[in-house]
């Protein structure tokens, strides 16, 4: 027995493989483990789209709101304030005051201002619209991530995919209710608006159509608890959730859950001004287009805090507070792709693929043993080492094991053993040719090497392409295949070579080719 560098590397590789695959195999507390894919542990995968045109619309709407506030604050009379998809239009009643807007409007980014007589119109530039859309996407990602971080699931994935899609992956969702809750939390616009009830016309709200309301610059909103109750409110809100600094769940005097919110300084000022001017009128607290409450304003409200009461459960109130805190979605999102796997199906898949993996593995091992005898044993050692190393590398990188990934492991078993078949066949051939054992082994390896390398590299090329173009579970297949192939070069080629070199004198002495290579002579 002689030590050689190959056997040393092989031994180190085995130690590495066994050591680092233990956390995954034994499911220990600490240590890096292989993550199971959503298809194996159950979970929710969604690809979301963003309705970016809505973001532009709400941007324009908020510009309109700020113009209105500016005019009121500076006692400038304006009329016919309206907006469409590209900009805002209004008329300044006193032409002497036209210039007062110049300074203010200049600060609206990415806009073009034109004046025709006393009518000022502000339009967003094409570039600004594109920018707004882009921001809507990154804001949506940020918001959804914030919300999910507070939701209490471990390691939610929220990432941009392509130009304008959002990938959301939630592992470990156990029940339908949990999934429903997560989906509601993600998609909730959480757009808070404080709006003025149009008290002059509200009495006629039940006889009005949407178009009638629009003619007055109003909109009709329904009550959240009782949709038959309607409110007529000014379309341009007093302020919106963008000025919110905090939201949390609280309880009212009857111990019903409600939400407390705080506004920033600017919001508090606007809110104070408005309430001071509108004593005796009503203020509608509107969330996602529904009126949650419409209390009477009894006095000027400073301090910038308020409450949203509604008919919610503690859980709903908690989620709503999370959503408000994380900010509103600038644009609504919609579902492009969804894959949801229940945990029981995942468990079944693990079971079935383990049976296949172990079954295939045992078959191959027995086959090699019968066909090659001790050479088969050596190949099998390499095969087992390969599996350990594969698992160890995957654990270290925190790679995800998917169902196709399991199939990839099964295939790796087949490919790894192929290298040993090629080598063993070469050695047998050389023994038949009457070469010495030393020559048979060395030449066998060098002859086989080219073919194995070429074959492995081409398979690797296919795996890399698969990884680059595949999605989700398929990527998992490419990962296990690639790592498996690379590991097999270490175990099946280098490792077995080392073993042969170590045992060479013994093999030569024994002169028993049947025992060692399963052949006569």
């Amino acid at each position: 027995m002689k030590l050689n560098y190959r056997i040393v590397i092989f031994a180190l590789a085995i130690i590495f493989g066994v050591a680092f695959s233990m956390p995954s195999l034994l499911q220990t507390e600490g240590g890096k483990k292989v993550t199971l894919g959503l298809d194996l542990q159950g979970g929710l995968h969604m690809l979301l789209g963003v309705k970016t045109e809505e973001a532009t619309k709400s941007r324009i709407k908020s510009i309109a709101a700020s113009i209105k506030h500016f005019a009121e604050r500076n006692d400038i009379l304006i009329d016919g304030l309206s907006f469409d998809e590209t900009g805002v239009k209004f008329e300044v009643l006193d032409s002497d005051e036209l210039s007062k807007f110049d300074e203010y409007l200049k600060e609206v980014e990415g806009s073009v201002i034109s004046k025709v007589g006393t009518i000022i119109s502000l339009t967003l530039t094409e570039k600004e619209i594109v920018k707004t859309k882009k921001e809507a996407i990154s804001q949506a990602i940020e918001t959804i991530r914030n919300r999910l971080d507070q939701f209490g699931l471990s390691e939610p994935v929220v990432a941009k995919q392509g130009e304008e899609k959002i990938l959301v992956q939630l592992a470990g969702i156990k029940t339908q209710e949990e999934e429903q809750r997560a989906r509601e939390l993600i998609s909730r616009a959480a757009k808070l608006e404080l709006m003025a009830v149009d008290e002059d016309r509200n009495a006629r709200v039940y006889n009005m159509s949407d178009a009638d309301a629009a003619a007055y610059g109003d909109i009709i909103l329904n009550d959240v608890k009782n949709p038959s109750i309607k409110y007529l409110v000014r379309e341009i809100p007093i302020l919106d959730g963008g000025m919110l600094t905090d939201a949390s769940m609280g309880f009212d005097q009857n111990n019903r859950p409600l939400i407390n919110f705080k506004l920033n300084a600017e919001g508090a000022e606007i809110f104070g001004d408005f309430t001071g001017r509108s004593v005796g009128k009503r203020l509608a607290v509107v969330l996602d287009g529904k009126v949650y409450s419409a209390p009477n304003i009894n006095e000027r409200i400073g301090g910038g805090s308020g409450q949203i009461s509604g008919n919610y459960t503690v859980m709903e109130a908690k989620d709503l507070a999370i959503a408000l805190r994380s900010g509103a979605l600038l644009a609504p999102i919609y579902l492009m792709e969804k894959r949801s796997v229940g945990p029981s199906l995942g468990a079944d898949s693990i079971k079935a693929s383990l049976v296949a993996l172990i079954g295939g593995f045992v078959l191959v091992i027995i086959f090699m043993l019968v066909y090659y005898r001790l050479a088969g044993v050596i190949a099998n050692i390499a095969l087992i080492a390969n599996l350990f190393i594969l698992l160890a590398v995957m654990s270290l990188f925190g790679a995800t094991l998917t169902l196709p990934g399991m199939a990839g492991i099964v295939l790796t078993v087949g490919m790894a053993v192929d290298a040993n078949v090629i080598i063993s066949e070469r050695i047998r051939e050389l023994i038949y040719e009457g070469k010495s054992m030393h020559k048979a082994i060395e030449e066998g390896y060098s002859n086989a090497m080219r073919a194995i390398l070429d074959a492995n590299i081409t398979t690797l090329i296919a795996s890399v392409v698969l990884y680059a173009y595949g999605t989700g579970a398929i990527k998992g297949f490419a990962i296990t295949m690639s790592i498996g192939i690379l590991a097999s070069m270490l175990t099946a080629i280098l490792g077995t070579h080392g073993i042969y070199q170590m045992l060479e004198t013994r093999i030569t002495k024994s002169k028993n080719n049947k025992l060692w290579f399963g052949i006569k002579g």
């Binding site: 339908q176 296949a356 078959l363 169902l403 099964v410 295939l411 490919m415 073919a451 890399v464 698969l466």
Partner: protein, 323 residues
């Protein structure tokens, strides 16, 4: 144990004409199947919805059909058994875009009262995503083939590359033909299987080609046909063995891997058989027909060796300070 011990060379190339006719017939039959029956694209590529439902007892398929009938959302829904009588999948062409309530939730509501069930899987793939996945799928196949072509051309010779690509196209075509014949749902997993076949079949082909390359460089007197025959014969034991072990493994996957991996395993099973056959009977004869010129190859090799030797000589001279 030994299956084949090399004692004499089999005349594989003598049979190549018969094999070629068989291959052409098989490939043409596959294309005919693809043209007539067509591929049965699953939700991944066609878009749509799949809902997998498991009941406590045998699934009441008729009751389920009735339950889904009323709603236009479920129009064209098909219900089929999935592995066991308890489990079914509902396939629909329709999708929904709402995040909070999707078509899966609607299905749950509609099926209420049909028995005690659990919805185990919901796959919704919107039309844009489906189209994108299809495009990416085709791209990945093309890129993989291209990458392999370049590598083989670089390592061997262009005729080898072309021959192996023809073999690949042959294998993929027949595998697709079988997928069409059995109306297997073509999803991402089938694409993965096709790419695996690509790698696997190429493996086989390269092992044989490597022997041919060795034979050509080693023995300059022999003509190409006998070199190929000898190479194929010498690798026959390995080809059979590896194919058998791989076949075992894929077969266990097919038998015990569960319903969800069935399509993948099936495609692969076809690929293993066809891939083995093609490396012997398709790739090698093409090499012959392309008129791979042994003499020319030798001259090239000699030229290469000569150039290397000259370079070495110059380097030696340089090292010794002659130049």
């Amino acid at each position: 144990m030994e299956f084949f011990r090399y004692t004499r060379t089999f005349n594989f190339m003598g049979k190549s004409r018969v094999a070629m006719i068989m291959s052409i017939v098989l490939v043409l039959a596959s294309y005919a199947l693809l043209a007539t029956k067509g591929l049965n694209y699953g939700v991944d590529f066609a878009g749509g919805t799949v809902v997998q439902v498991k009941y406590d007892t045998a699934a009441p398929i008729d009751k389920m059909r009735d339950a889904l009938k009323g709603n236009s959302l479920f129009s064209g829904a098909t219900i089929s058994e999935f592995g066991t009588p308890d489990e079914v999948v509902i396939r629909m062409k329709t999708t929904t875009g709402n995040v909070t309530t999707d078509i899966g939730d609607e299905t749950r509501v509609a099926l209420k009262g049909s028995g005690n069930f659990e919805i185990r899987r919901v796959d919704i793939v919107g039309p844009t995503v489906g189209a994108e996945l299809k495009e990416k799928g085709v791209m990945s196949l093309l890129l993989a083939v291209l990458g392999i072509l370049v590598y083989v051309a670089f390592r061997f010779e262009w005729r080898f590359a072309v021959a192996s690509i023809v073999a690949l196209v042959h294998d993929i075509s027949i595998a697709l033909g079988m997928v069409a014949l059995f109306q297997i749902d073509v999803n991402l997993d089938v694409l993965a299987a096709l790419l695996t076949i690509l790698g696997y079949s190429l493996n086989d082909t390269i092992i044989v080609f490597d022997r041919i390359r060795e034979g050509v460089t080693g023995n300059r007197m022999q003509d190409l046909e006998s070199t190929i025959n000898e190479s194929v014969t010498r690798t026959l034991a390995r080809t059979t063995l590896t194919s058998l072990t791989t076949f075992f493994v894929v077969f266990t996957l097919f038998m015990f891997g569960g319903e969800i991996i069935h399509a993948f395993a099936f495609t692969l099973l076809v690929g293993v058989v066809v891939g083995t056959y093609s490396s012997v009977f398709v790739a090698s004869p093409i090499l012959l027909w392309f008129g791979f010129d042994v003499k020319n190859y030798h001259n090239k090799l000699a030229e290469k060796a000569k150039r290397a030797a000259e370079k070495q000589k110059m380097r030696d001279q340089f090292d010794q300070g002659v130049v």
